[in-house]
Symmetry: C2
Subunit: 140 residues, 2 copies
Amino acid sequence: MDTRVHDILRRNQLSVTASREKILNLFLTNTRALAHADIEHKAGERFDRVTVYRTLQTFVEKGILHTIPTADNSVRYALCKNDCFEGHHHDNHYHFICSACGKTECLEEFVIPSVKVPKEYLANNVEIVVNGVCAACRKK
Amino acid sequence: MDTRVHDILRRNQLSVTASREKILNLFLTNTRALAHADIEHKAGERFDRVTVYRTLQTFVEKGILHTIPTADNSVRYALCKNDCFEGHHHDNHYHFICSACGKTECLEEFVIPSVKVPKEYLANNVEIVVNGVCAACRKK
DNA sequence: TATATTTTGCAACACAGTTGCATGTAAATA
DNA sequence: TATTTACATGCAACTGTGTTGCAAAATATA
Ligand SMILES: [Mn+2]
Ligand SMILES: [Mn+2]
Ligand SMILES: [Zn+2]
Ligand SMILES: [Zn+2]
């Protein structure tokens, strides 16, 4: 169990429970984003489906996780950087999904390009998802 | 009923049925993208849920409609331009969703900006959805 | 019009996600 | 540490969305 797990939960005024520890640990020990099903399989078996849903919901509300929109309309979750907090996400980055292995990554190192909108329109937020093949899969 | 309805169906080797006419007409007489629920309400009442699903599926396969990914994971459909055909979509544009009225538009007039990916990665396809407020809603 | 081919509606199902409520567990307090 | 209080969990039941098989109906074709 990653040592940060306990701290992150306390910092967010969450009581430390087995399911929260287990699920948060999954994200701290994996670089890739996880779908609900991944979590239910890896952490699950031991926890009720509803508990997994509620835990993920809580983590998103607290700014511990953020969701990633995908073209196939399945929700994935990834760790937020430290500057997200309750009700205020600042996840100014876009995402990459490998079509071969399904790996989903936050690309935090690149700047979101500016995107045009029609005259008189106001753009608040730009969601970008890049589909492609990751380095590991290209070598195969 | 829009005069193009019949032609579009025949051009795509689809038999002309009441549900296909009605649903296709909805898209030709609306500029905005429609969700399944919109269609079921506007065209529905008269058609079975399953028929609406199958009709939309067929239209997407034929290249008459394309789907739009949204952050809230609900599928929306919009008319393709003429250069899409069976199994080959060429919808190189991004989308705008108004957070006030829900209007969803294809922004065909702008170029998709180039987006960086990590070294050794291959980018195949970039999905962009801009959330904001449309001109009509800003004036209110 | 008669026939072959598609499409439709219905029922039944699968799956994701939500809600209410009683019980169990963690945190706060004494 | 023992007690109290607040919160998290599991279960059952439910809703919404999308799919499938099949018989009946509608369409296209000759
Ligand atoms: Mn991210
Ligand atoms: Mn479009
Ligand atoms: Zn990969
Ligand atoms: Zn609007």
